[in-house]
Assembly symmetry: C2
Homo-oligomer: 338 residues x 2
DNA sequence: ATGAAAGCGCTAACAT
DNA sequence: ATGTTAGCGCTTTCAT
């Protein structure tokens, strides 16, 4: 027994397929009486119109592509997963198919895009985190509606970002409020826009307090857990030890904390730590990491709204999610001056 | 400028659409000469046939649905993500669209299935972790090819599982080999098949050594981090303290370790811990958790193979992934008898 | 080996 | 308000 078609329903209702189509799509121009009859038959037979034929005739795939860039870094996965939850939740309102691709997809063929985009099988695409400009150029050329999440690209796509300057300011300010003056700095400068935001926020907070930057304590080339660990080793080997360390990401903080513990020092008694992101794991490290929450689920939710707007031809502005939410846990000690 | 169609290519090559279709799909019955001509035009124009029309005529969606059950438990997410990576990686060979749905999808309508399955828009479905029998019954009724990952369902779908009996045995054996005799047990009995496997492996290892189970140290109703914490509290309040704790999941272990630390005890000096799963976070807790690795990426890879086999009508057996891989880290102390 | 033509299930213009 | 009909872009049967 194969599935019912719109023709079957039409026959059963004694009307034409057009009428059934109108009823299904909630269009005007059907008398209340026939509408009701058709609706009854549709619901009693559990009829669902074949999506493939709609795709063909409407020239719409009902797919939204979500592309993530595969890295070997498991921390990114945490970041992704929360965004994805937001995406899926919001999509329940829209009913698209959320199709995942890994950007390394494309390494196989000559193009830069995942297969689904290459074959024009997505109505829109959402990019998670950093994307190459090459990829974005391809998207532009093909005129595929796109939005960027937490990207630091210079391209002009609607994007949803955090304000890392505010986040860094809030974090540093907290350290200062807790009595810290001697604050080390660990960041990546791999993404210039990210770095400049973070540094701006950090130095603004420090400047307000009349504090200063100690070159021995400035590490700007961390890139992953390991290099953050190394950075911390270097900081600890400097003549004076900072009372607190500001880290541009929780991932850096967690690795640097490990370094401090390996040196036999106590957190937060000997050194305090603060991060940015509030990745899931931060709650579970010892001590739990004080950090600035970047609301990744909200990023997903908003991204979904933006892409649907774009697909429907409505305007879609850039959005910046609140980035000043301090999550106080156990990694920052209050210094009492007596 | 709209996209090229097979007709355009046919015209350019001076042949009929049929021939182009044959060439694209690698079918016999085209002279080498025309085949070559068509191939050249196809590749020079970057022609990719419209997937929607193939979907319609072939009655195939080219979608594989991956359904995850949304829980509030972030640990599950780690588990998912590794599986998903395996799925996506393997899918590069097949080229399906991997479409994600959250099972709570269905709460909106009267059915139990995600929309994509309800409307017959997936060629197959992969279920991650536990699924209700109600859902599986619906799948059966609709004759949708399905495979189960790490499910403890009694239904007869091809499934890819870990052997938690072997895992528990390996873990407990390691504790014993490290000199432990007094071993506490924390597990969930929520999924009977999971529980019986775990208990069987645990007691087998203990029995071989002539050890015994202390009722005070048996907790079988942990269900999440919190309850595992509580279970550990109870164990610590018993007259004698175990030297080691076996935990059926890393998540239980991590929470129970927190409890032990909160009691001012040291791990592994005072109490040793072992878990099962090797979730990402286990590497980062303090001390890093010794555990049994369940290869989740492999589970994803294999699941992809199985579902494609099923879709193509080939046989698809059950697969059990190796479950005896001990990952030694810092949470188990060797007891020296002097 | 190649081409003509029907048809997959729907939508939407166009009649009535 | 309702029906007829022509496609959407492919695959596939059937002629040639």
């Amino acid at each position: 027994m194969s599935r019912l078609t719109i023709k079957d329903i039409a026959k059963m209702a004694g009307v034409s397929p057009t009428v059934v189509s109108f009823v299904i799509n909630g269009k005007e121009g059907v008398s209340p009486k026939t509408r009701k009859k058709v609706e009854e038959i549709v619901s009693s037979t559990n009829f669902i119109p074949n999506l493939s034929s709609r795709r063909l005739v409407l020239n719409k795939s009902f797919n939204i592509s979500v592309v993530i860039k595969s890295t070997s870094n498991p921390f990114n996965d945490f970041f992704y997963f929360e965004i994805i939850q937001g995406l899926m939740e919001k999509n329940k309102e829209y009913g698209y198919n959320i199709v995942f691709s890994d950007l390394s997809d494309s390494s196989s063929n000559s193009s830069f895009l995942p297969d689904i985009l290459e074959r024009g099988d997505a109505d829109g695409v959402i990019f998670l985190q950093q994307v190459d400009d090459l990829v974005l150029n391809s998207i532009n050329k093909r005129n595929i509606p796109a939005v960027l999440i937490d990207s630091h690209s210079t391209q002009t796509f609607p994007s949803i970002k955090a304000d890392y300057s505010i986040a860094a300011y809030t974090a540093t300010k907290h350290l200062i409020d807790m009595g810290h003056n001697d604050i080390a700095f660990i960041s990546s400068n791999f993404l210039p826009s990210f770095y400049s935001q973070v540094f701006a926020g950090f130095s603004k907070a420090l400047g307000e307090k009349g504090g200063f930057l100690s070159p021995d304590w400035m590490c700007i080339d961390a890139i992953d857990g390991e290099s953050a660990y190394d950075a911390m080793t270097k900081i600890l080997s400097s003549p004076r030890r900072p009372t607190a360390v500001f880290c541009a990401t929780d991932m850096f903080a967690i690795s640097a904390m490990k370094c401090v513990k390996d040196h036999g020092l106590k957190i937060p008694e000997d050194v305090s730590f603060i991060g940015i992101d509030d990745i899931i794991i931060s709650k579970y490290v010892e001590p739990a990491l004080t950090t600035i929450k970047i609301d990744k689920k909200a990023m997903g939710t908003i991204a979904m709204e933006l892409i649907v707007n774009k697909i429907e031809g409505k305007p879609a502005e850039n959005i910046i999610v609140p980035s000043d939410c301090l999550i106080r846990r156990g990694s920052v000690k209050k210094i009492e001056y007596i």
